[in-house]
């Protein structure tokens, strides 16, 4: 009974959302957006016909928005990730950590394959990070990919527990570095996170990648440890 009610209610809400969106002059139809009147137009025009030095703006506008125009938001986002990994560590952290025992034994194929895969994934991740200015999503996917490569090692080798504290350290350093870069901007141009040299953008992208990778690895590490009995 409860499920039927919930079903009806959820469906009703979905229908209401669709109906209210289809009859709304504030909300354009699918594929019919006019963002050239909106706030995005500024980002696009400065990109397309702007007189800015080409090296200063990333080729990918999404990355440009993330690290340049809305760099402050990204700083906040990095902080959220940072705080959530701290939260996980607080909730799951134990005094004397030990790697958790998985229920299955990794067989030969898995361990060899995963090691082979690790190198590819890791390098791809670094590649993406280095080409973050063109790739969609900036350096986030790169960071995530680096983290996944580590996770694969976790799965394949039950004795594996790299010194992930280095990753955690990298994450902290990256987050601080972000602020530091911002402060450099403040020092040179009077604006926080000012983009006055191509180097700034690159640094930020690399730092974000390290931060994401470190954050995810830290979280995974926390999940895969338990207290030594």
């Amino acid at each position: 009974m409860k499920k039927i009610l919930a079903f009806i209610f959820a469906i009703t809400l979905g229908v209401m959302i669709i109906l209210s969106l289809s009859n709304n002059e504030l909300f354009t139809d699918f594929g019919d957006t006019n963002h050239y009147d909106g706030i995005s137009s500024g980002y696009i025009t400065s990109e397309v016909g702007g007189d800015e030095e080409p090296a200063l703006v990333p080729v990918n506008i999404v990355t440009g928005i993330l690290v340049d125009y809305r760099g402050f938001d990204t700083l906040g986002e990095v902080t959220v990730l940072f705080v959530s990994s701290i939260g996980v560590a607080l909730l799951l952290g134990v005094a004397s950590p030990k790697r958790i025992n998985l229920n299955f034994k990794p067989n030969f194929m898995l361990s060899v394959g995963s090691r082979a895969l690790f190198g590819v994934m890791f390098l791809t991740g670094i590649y993406i990070v280095l080409h973050a200015k063109t790739s969609p999503g900036g350096s986030f996917p790169g960071g995530a990919m680096i983290a996944s490569s580590i996770l694969i090692l976790y799965l394949s080798n039950d004795t594996f527990r790299t010194d992930v504290s280095k990753f955690k350290l990298g994450k902290s350093l990256a987050a601080s570095g972000f602020v530091l870069v911002g402060l450099i901007g403040l020092l040179f141009t009077g604006e926080f996170l000012a983009n006055f040299h191509p180097f700034i953008m690159d640094t930020i992208l690399v730092l974000i990648a390290i931060d994401v990778a470190g954050g995810i690895v830290g979280i995974i590490d926390n999940f895969l440890t338990e207290e030594r009995v």
């Binding site: 919930a6 957006t33 990109e47 397309v48 993330l66 990204t74 959530s84 939260g87 063109t134």
Partner: protein, 112 residues
């Protein structure tokens, strides 16, 4: 169509939230809901034109080109990362609950 798909995902997520009493399932429903929302936001910025391209502009294209709205994409990128954070926190809470009550079901915990 993509819009309906996103709404469908949202509805599925809500249905899951309304009916499930299992913590893991609740978190999964939340993730489904979140994905639906992200897709929905992305669709807002979509431009259904032949000449519209992804917002990646190389030097050759620095003439006037038509691109899809990059802003929703940037926002969604942020949202994904934050979603990872919330999911991680939720899962670790679930793990804690499991350690304490030895069940993931909300109905079976509570009374000590």
């Amino acid at each position: 169509m993509l819009l309906y798909a996103s709404v469908l995902l949202i509805v599925i997520g809500l249905y899951g939230l309304l009916t499930n009493r299992n913590v893991i399932k609740i978190i999964l429903s939340l993730n489904v809901l979140e994905i639906g929302l992200n897709i929905f936001i992305i669709t807002v910025g979509f431009l259904d034109l032949e000449e519209a391209i992804a917002p990646i502009i190389t030097l050759q294209q620095r003439a006037s080109v038509i691109v899809v709205d990059p802003l929703p994409q940037a926002l969604v990128l942020t949202a994904i990362v934050i979603g990872v954070g919330t999911t991680a926190i939720g899962l670790s809470l679930a793990k804690k609950m499991y350690d304490k009550y030895h069940t993931f079901n909300l109905d079976e915990m509570g009374e000590e």
